[in-house]
């Protein structure tokens, strides 16, 4: 499928580059509501253990009840965290947002981050991203580990769940420092509204490409021009296909820094996005405002209406979940499929 046979997806970063994020909830709530007014697919909030600012997943959980449609995609790193905790926290974000959770999986590269945990040294990018792929893999398995209809509340037999519809995942992976690890499962959390929250990976860096092709629902690429973005998209889709995935189940968004000091710039941005879209650069855009407090308003009041006039942006959300916005189907649980297969 060509990139421009569909209107582009649009997402925005809430981060304040270069400054610590606010520590109270109000600014995040205001920005996310603004993004929702612009019918953007999702907002992202970055995180590292060394960035001054609050925990990103917590912030977007705090935002969830104040919004109804916009997707919520925090960064949660995979290097020093426990895969089980990461999986259940993201899964819970999907429950509290009623199906709007995503997860930008990222790695912790630095010795400074390693020293905050004191458990394992920093590792090379390749090993970090292989581990990230394992963490995303086991998270997906944990999300599937309860079949959708596992809770039966059968008063006659006294059974709250059908235990045959819960599955040990018995995952075995390798840490970035080379030790094997295993996760038994199942999750402690029932399968969430989207089945699996949306996984986002920044595939700009070479080392992250394989992980993005294998595990991401949305891949972000940073590119200076439409041709570079188009080439990255083509490569990611080809890799996904090699890995046995349907490349149409992967959305590739160009992540663009934007600065909108004046209203005219907001309209100019609409022209730029239109041109990139026409050049089939990507499936959409992830915009990173230089100053979200200033730029997001201009984006929503200037760029968004201009794109809508051109038929490049919808006027209302097509559904209620982030998967709905992205045109991604709710995945069937893998264990359910296995069980049915066995039975037939």
């Amino acid at each position: 499928m060509t990139a421009h046979s569909r209107p582009p997806h649009l997402a925005v970063a809430l981060d304040t580059p270069g400054a610590p994020g606010p520590f109270d909830a109000a600014p995040y709530v205001r920005l996310a509501r603004l993004a929702e007014r612009g019918t953007l697919d999702f907002v992202t909030l970055g995180d590292t253990f060394t960035r001054p600012g609050p925990d990103a997943l917590a912030v977007l959980a705090r935002v969830a009840p104040h919004t109804a449609r916009v997707g919520l995609v925090p960064t949660v790193t995979t290097t020093h965290t426990e895969p089980f905790h990461v999986a259940t926290a993201v899964q819970t974000l999907d429950w509290v947002s009623r199906g709007r959770a995503g997860w930008q999986a990222d790695v912790s590269r630095t010795p400074a981050e390693a020293a905050l945990f004191g458990r394992r040294p920093a590792a090379p990018a390749g090993a970090l991203w292989r581990e990230a792929a394992d963490v995303a893999d086991v998270a997906g398995r944990l999300w599937d580990s309860w079949e959708d209809d596992a809770e039966i509340r059968d008063a006659a037999t006294g059974r709250f769940i059908d235990r045959d519809k819960l599955h040990h995942v018995d995952f075995r992976g390798t840490s970035s420092t080379g030790e094997p690890f295993s996760v038994r499962g199942p999750s402690i959390v029932p399968r969430p509204p989207q089945g699996r929250p949306v996984i986002v990976v920044d595939a700009t860096e070479d080392a992250a490409r394989e992980t993005a092709a294998a595990r991401a629902d949305v891949a972000l690429v940073r590119a200076e021009d439409p041709d570079t973005a188009h080439a990255a998209r083509t490569e990611l889709r080809a890799r996904a296909q090699e890995l046995g995935r349907d490349p149409d189940h992967l959305r590739v968004l160009v992540s663009l820094p934007v600065e909108l000091p004046a209203a005219g710039d907001a309209a100019g941005l609409a022209d730029l996005l239109t041109d990139w879209h026409a050049a089939e650069a990507a499936d959409g855009f992830h915009l990173r405002p230089a100053d979200p407090e200033r730029d997001l308003g201009r984006l929503v009041d200037g760029t968004v209406p201009a794109l809508r006039r051109r038929g490049l942006l919808r006027r209302a959300y097509p559904g209620t979940t982030l998967r709905d916005h992205l045109g991604l189907a709710r995945p069937a649980g893998r264990y359910a499929a296995v069980r049915t297969g066995e039975a037939s």
Binding site: P20, F23, F49, V59, W95, V183, R184, P186
Partner: protein, 444 residues
Amino acid sequence: MTTSRTPARKRLHLAAHFPGVNNTTVWTDSESRSQIEFDSFEHLARTAERGRFDFFFLAEGLRLREHKGRIHDLDVVGRPESLTVLNALAAVTDRLGLAATVNATFNEPYELARRLATLDHLSAGRAAWNVVTSSDAFTGENFRRGGYLDHADRYTRAAEFVATARELWDSWSEDGTPRPFAHRGQHFDIRGEFTVPRSPQGHPVVIQAGDSPAGRDFAASAADVIFTRHGTLEAGRAFSADVKGRLAAHGRSHNSLKIMPGVTFVLGDTAAEAQEKAHHIRRRQVSPQNALLAAEQIWGTDLSHLDPDGPLPAFDPDPGARLTQGRTRLGDPQEIADRWRALSRAKGLSLRETVIEATGRQSFIGTPETVAAEMDAFVTQDAADGFILVPHLTPGGLDDFVDTVVPLLQERGAFRTEYEGNTLRSHLGLPEPARGRGVEGSTS
């Protein structure tokens, strides 16, 4: 506005436990709703805040219970991750404290201190952490670090964990800039800069749940609140005297630690009606299947051939066998079996009836008037400082209590009529902790 009262009047604290993975919850009731959808959490939290409760409480379990090698299927199973739910609840409440149970064994201080400080910031000072220490290898199978701690080491790690978290919470200077920290101890050797400024409460409130001497010492040294199971007046008084007696050794005052047992309640228009309701609830909590399961846990062997309405097993428990994993052990099996048999003989009870009698933990049964009076007496007689209420219905199980008992407690001057402050510490009457040194250097 506050009602006039004598200054010496001891007032109680109240918290709401979201009923979850236990056999208290009567999920077969027609009023029972989702245990997992946000609406349920929102309903219970809003009810607790309407009742001017101190805090809302979530328990934690990091692996599903298994019995006879299979996932336990008779009670509620499945719950969301606590801190994420509480951050969302901070959006729909204004004053209610928000307490998460989080294990000190399967987490790291830097990450958890950051998540807790974030909740405190995003809720404007309402965060609490219930520090639990379960560390069995069974749970460890869900973690890459595994189940690596000896039983005896649980509390040394927990104590060092809390101390390290406090160093991190204190590490920003008064003028709002981060200062480097370094902690080197038996369990942690970490250094760097914390990314979150000191939070609105200084430190989130620390709750402890655990009952061994080591657990009590840990609580006396580090906790603001103890969550206990000592639900009777005598047991409560003894526990309270013991734990508060340990405070002085840590340089702490009698009032700096609040004791809050987890309790259930059943309300009726008359005493008889309440008893009738309580009996009905107990029978639904202990289904025939649940009665057999309870006996299997004690006897350590498969009893599925037994009739729950018949007698107890004629043979003795297998002392070595452990059929159930992921659940706290209740005590010595032989001793429990002897006690159950004596009970069964004395009252002519079937297996199921014996389990109903022996495992009942219904604390307050009566009319709103008698329940209010009993709770008040409990607190004025120093058996507790308040209660963590565990309703048997989700999410409406607290509605009656808030509508009927709370006003009576307020009339007696035993409970606040309005929040007097904004933070959980202010509800609990706990001072903001002094800033630690928060400086670079070894702290072991």
